[in-house]
């Protein structure tokens, strides 16, 4: 098992039309081992950038990131990432896609491991199909299997169900909880779907935009199996929504004349 993720004073900016635009400012966040944290924010609040920095795909300008005590300096097999698009290689069969990260594993074990995770996401029988033959939901399942196959301690999910229809999305959320019960890995998800956040998270991090800052952290004290129709569930949803829509909030500065 891995350790906790510790982010301190993270800063990141982009150059837009030769002007410096800060994307993330003073992000402090600690995620415990095995914890499920969901980051919600408007599009453009830098939440995906934050996830990419944790993945090691982008470098912060200042601040420290430690995972299990070790500083993050690039991608690593201790982290797996699931993107909004499935990002399967169109030219590889599903099995070979899932085995993509298994370069360090003995050749003869690769297919077996790939099959194990394919059956975990209920894709048995599709080993030799190409991604174009799968539906959106099935492709995303395959992408989850690929991320799990390397057995990362930390799973980073960048709006993984954002492109799916509402019903498939709910199905996938249930699936993710089932996988989590099995894997016990730390999960860090980014979304703008408040319902999804309350359904999945142990803690929700609310981010404000331009620059992206941590606005609030909300502990979700709901039972493991959550009822989307319950009053408590609705209460949490309203609480999160309020951060975005209450009057006089810093978000409303976007609309000043």
């Amino acid at each position: 098992m891995g350790g906790e993720l510790e982010i301190k004073g993270l800063y990141k900016s982009f150059m837009v039309n030769s002007q410096k635009l800060s994307v993330l400012e003073g992000i402090d966040l600690t995620v415990g081992d095995g914890e499920f944290v969901v980051i919600v924010g408007r599009s453009g609040c830098g939440k995906s950038t934050l996830l990419k920095i944790i993945a090691g795909l982008e470098m912060p300008e200042s601040g420290t990131l430690r995972l299990a005590g070790k500083p993050i300096s690039g991608p690593g097999f201790d982290r797996g990432m699931i993107f909004q698009e499935h990002r399967l290689m169109p030219w590889l069969t599903i099995e070979r896609n899932v085995a993509l990260g298994l370069g360090r594993v003995k050749k003869k074990d690769r297919a077996r491991i790939a099959r194990k995770y394919l059956s975990m996401v209920q894709l048995e029988g599709f080993e030799n199909a190409y991604p174009s033959q799968l539906s959106g939901g099935m492709s995303q399942r395959a992408a989850i299997a690929r991320a799990l196959a390397t057995e990362p301690d930390t799973l980073l999910l960048d709006e993984p169900f954002g492109a799916l229809d509402a019903l498939t999305k709910i199905e996938m959320q249930d699936e993710l909880l089932r996988i989590r019960a099995n894997q016990k890995s730390m999960m860090l998800m980014v979304t703008h779907d408040v319902d999804e956040a309350v359904f999945l998270a142990d803690r929700i991090v609310v981010m404000s935009s331009r620059p992206g800052r941590v606005r609030a952290i909300v502990n979700i004290e709901l039972p493991e199996v959550r009822d989307r129709g319950s009053a408590d569930f609705a209460w949490y949803k309203k609480k999160i929504f309020d951060y975005f829509f209450e009057h006089g909030s810093e978000e409303s500065t976007d609309f000043t004349i």
């Binding site: 991608p75 993107f83 030219w91 993509l100 990260g101 370069g103 174009s132 033959q133």
Partner: protein, 253 residues
């Protein structure tokens, strides 16, 4: 057109119309046979040349030149194109030189190449190489460059080496574009070899056409042109089939 024989038949309608128009125009003597020989005369010459084997010999000489020059262009064009597509520095290093050379029409190379290599095999192979190299290079570069950044990020997540990145992401992603280049280059190299053989050669189908023109054997000229067209269509079909074999994932949907 789901029915295959029917669809082939359909695409043969226009050629059939053209040949019949040719036939009736010459039989009715609407055009002098000196300008357009009669179809049956061309047919007889073609039959003669095929049975004697002379046209097959001419075509195979030209084809063997194509295979040499084209193979060289494929090897260098694809590998250098891959390097230039993946590395900005390599692209910058070669770009100006290649763009300049590319402006020179392939036929303008012939006099120089003849001085360097003589009128034999080498100069023809060099012309074919020069003609087919750039379409292959350019299409390989653009194919590599258009590789989806999202897929490359996945490769980086799994710490794939540069070679693995090339083999599992860049190359398959670029393949359809590479094949566009290969197809284009094959057509151009066919033109290049015939052109070069017409300017300076002592064998090959281009030489035969030019020789027949000088001897006023117009049916032979037409036979040569027909042979070029037929062989070109066949080679195009071969490349198309190869491209389908190389990209099986493009066919399943």
């Amino acid at each position: 057109m789901k029915n295959k024989p029917l669809s082939i038949l359909f695409s043969l309608i226009l050629p059939a119309l053209i040949f019949s128009a040719w036939h009736f125009a010459t039989v009715a003597e609407l055009v002098p046979t000196l300008l357009l020989p009669r179809l049956d005369a061309v047919g007889r010459t073609l039959f003669e040349q095929v049975s004697k084997g002379s046209i097959i010999k001419d075509v195979s000489i030209s084809l063997s030149r194509i295979i040499k020059g084209y193979a060289l262009a494929v090897a260098i064009g694809v590998s250098l194109g891959a390097v230039m597509g993946m590395s900005r520095i390599a692209e910058k290093f070669f770009s100006l030189t290649f763009t300049s050379i590319r402006q020179i029409p392939m036929m303008a190379w012939v006099p120089l190449l003849v001085i360097w290599f003589g009128i034999g095999e080498k100069s023809k192979v060099a012309v074919i190489f020069l003609a087919s190299y750039f379409p292959i290079l350019m299409n390989t570069i653009s194919g590599i460059r258009r590789t989806d950044n999202g897929l490359l990020e996945v490769g980086r997540m799994y710490q794939l080496s540069r070679w693995e990145m090339f083999r599992t992401i860049y190359l398959p992603s670029a393949l359809p574009s590479v094949f566009v280049g290969l197809k284009l280059a094959l057509g151009i190299s066919w033109m290049a070899v015939v052109g070069a053989e017409m300017i300076a050669a002592s064998s090959g189908i281009g030489f035969r056409i030019n020789d027949a023109r000088a001897l006023m054997q117009f049916p032979v000229v037409f036979c040569g042109m027909l042979a070029i067209a037929v062989v070109g269509v066949l080679m195009d079909a071969i490349i198309t089939a190869a491209s389908k074999l190389a990209t099986p994932w493009e066919r399943v949907r």
